[in-house]
Symmetry: none
Subunit: 412 residues, 2 copies
């Protein structure tokens, strides 16, 4: 099965936003064995949308459109696609209308009359029920090909893709079995990982291999296509064993694991608790840890001490350390980790202190420098890293290093 | 002048990387008054590249291609485009070859024989000299239309666009001017905003209008096309005045402003400081505030009190409040905001306490409920909101509400 993604919106063509929707959709479709042949971006222009749809339906089986389903004047996708499928007549869908009204009521805001129009559904389309928003997705079918239209809001599009579109596409596909296994690594770069797993040809005997690097973590994905489930499982397991035998110490999890969810499981297994002291990461470490549902079981508190006063007052960092070594130092990272562990009464304490930039660097302590501190029941340690000049990237990487360090400690 | 971007690479179609190149190019082209009509993504497939190029040249003046210029087997762009322009014959460009050799020498790595091929230039193409890499860009022209091909490496593409392609395009253009203005609003939904700005036809007399919603904030963008800069400026200003006169109290900033950067500017102007107490947002409020470079000037500390013990110990929330009203309550939100302001000695304190979910809700206090507290030198107040069942979306929306509330207080 082949697909084309058509992303609609002037904001994409003037470069105001990055088309992350197309990337997310491509990845999910690829995992579902649907081959994305083209991604096309067009503006909020009826004729351009119609032509793109016409071209796409001439070259692929499935067209997935996002954007232009809102309640305002530049939202024309529904009308254009309905006309293309000779389904200009719209009917008011009472269930959708009740849902739209309920959403507004729940948020306690007045509903504008234009929102009622979101419940108008082209006669020949199937509603893709949208739990998260006021615009339903719509599915059109003709001569064995189909077109789904979805809102451009990422959370709503992801919901509709996962719950509505992908299950529909799977139901139309030949019954091949696809299995994917993502092996998630930290603390090793993509090229070194590649080298450790070379020759890749050996690995590709098991299935399709992809390397997916993010900020300082790399996923290795194996995809296996088989005619029956048992054979697919067996090959996936063999691939996993092959990979683990080469890089096991860098693997923190599989598939949907995140390093913060794995940390959570390890803390629960140890009946241990955690507190975080952050300077340069400014709350990002705590934010990621608390993204995990159930984190209140082990996450006690986070202290973001931007000022030196706060470091001394809450964490008990000695004034001498700040004067002699400065806030970005091994001694301060250790004192912060130890301090937050002590005042919180938790099993572990981690701390970050560094220079995220873009200003504030010196020759001795450049932008991108970070010290990570870790306090355990047995010891206090610290590690230093040096990254880039970009503030937001530095925060992400600093945070990742802190989580890596905590993970290694918990696993050892 | 109209343009189409064609991004080449299988890694884009399987969702392995985000197409940030197309976004960057769109923005630069738009600023240079070149209207991007389409972005197309195709794989490393000669026939698909040829067809996309053919279609693009039928509908725009300029085609900009990136990717597939490297030295390996799947890099076929140069060959395909050269053939399309009847320029299959390649000549060795000695200057390019010397440059390629010098680059390898400087990096102190051995040059593979395939790299010599990068100095082969189609006879009818113009070299776009690449200071940063081994693959030169190439420019093809025919019947008043042109196609530039560039490497997909972002730094090399950006260099070639800035130094070679954009100056070339500017030399070919009539002197029209485009201006955009993005007006950023918070605390009002897209449809209500639309209603307040209706009839849109009146607004569109100034230029093209677009509504761009994110989590609980909406941007309104005006785009104006004029023959001279003064006229464009005047129309943009008139549009801005028209919009502000209708929705001023919901506007927090313009263009690249974020609500956290505007909050920062307001705090600096007031010589005020800020501390944050977070429960359900788990560090996200502090993270966003500290994404702003220079935030250490006003951001003193953030306290993430997940446990009730931490709420009492660090923020001094009275035990009676937690027992009588619970942690998710108006009284607790106020006590947290007041507490963090008092212990930090800052001008303002904000606090979040709610149920992010997906578990932990009750009938009385459902998942999605949040109380935001705000303490100022004059008063302490709290506001309640109710959102969805999704943990990560709730964290984002709770955070946005806290920032909105702080912004309104600072602006008033």
């Amino acid at each position: 099965m082949t697909a084309e993604i058509i992303s609609i919106g002037d904001e994409l063509l003037i470069g105001q936003i990055v088309n992350t929707n197309a990337t997310w959709m491509s990845r999910q479709l690829n995992l579902a064995n649907v081959q994305v042949k083209h991604v096309s971006v067009v503006g909020d222009d009826g004729e351009a949308i119609r032509r793109s749809l016409d071209l796409a339906l001439s070259r692929v089986d499935v067209v997935l459109m996002t954007g232009g389903l809102g309640p305002t004047h530049d939202d024309i996708t529904k009308k254009v696609v309905a006309e293309y499928f000779d389904s200009a007549e719209m009917l008011l869908d009472e269930k959708v209308l009740a849902h739209v009204k309920a959403l507004f009521q729940r948020r306690n805001i007045r509903m504008a009359p234009v929102n009622e129009e979101q419940a108008l559904v082209p006669k020949k389309a199937t509603v893709l029920w949208n739990d998260y928003g006021t615009a339903p997705g719509l599915l059109f079918e003709r001569e064995g090909r189909c077109c789904a239209i979805m809102p451009g809001v990422p959370a709503e599009m992801q919901h509709l893709m996962t719950e509505r579109v992908l299950p529909f596409l799977k139901s139309k596909m030949p019954k091949a079995v696809i299995r994917h296994r993502t092996i998630r690594t930290a603390g090793i770069g993509e090229s070194l990982l590649f080298e450790k797993l070379s020759p890749i040809a050996e690995l590709e005997k098991f299935g399709k291999i992809a390397f997916l690097p993010h900020f300082s973590v790399v996923d290795v994905r194996v995809s296996v296509y088989e005619s029956d489930a048992a054979a697919a499982e067996q090959r996936i397991r063999a691939a996993e064993e092959y990979i683990l035998s080469r890089i096991e110490k860098n693997v923190y999890g599989f598939d949907d694991d995140t390093i913060e969810s794995v940390i959570g499981r390890l803390l629960i297994a140890k009946q241990a608790t955690l507190a975080v002291a952050e300077s340069c990461t400014g709350g990002l470490v705590a934010h990621r840890l608390t993204n995990v549902s159930g984190s209140s079981q082990y996450f006690d508190r986070g202290i973001i001490t931007y000022s030196n006063a706060a470091k001394m007052q809450i964490l008990g960092v000695p004034k001498e350390i700040l004067q002699q070594h400065g806030a970005v130092s091994e001694a301060c990272a250790k004192a912060m980790a130890e301090g937050v562990r002590r005042v919180s009464g938790t099993t572990y304490g981690i701390a970050t202190t560094g220079i995220a930039g873009p200003t504030g660097g010196t020759e001795e302590k450049p932008v991108g420098l970070v010290w990570i501190g870790l306090a355990t029941p047995e010891r206090v340690l610290a590690q230093k890293f040096l990254f880039t000049k970009d503030r937001l990237i530095n925060k992400e990487r600093f945070c990742q290093m802190a989580l890596n360090m905590l993970f290694r400690e918990l696993k050892s």
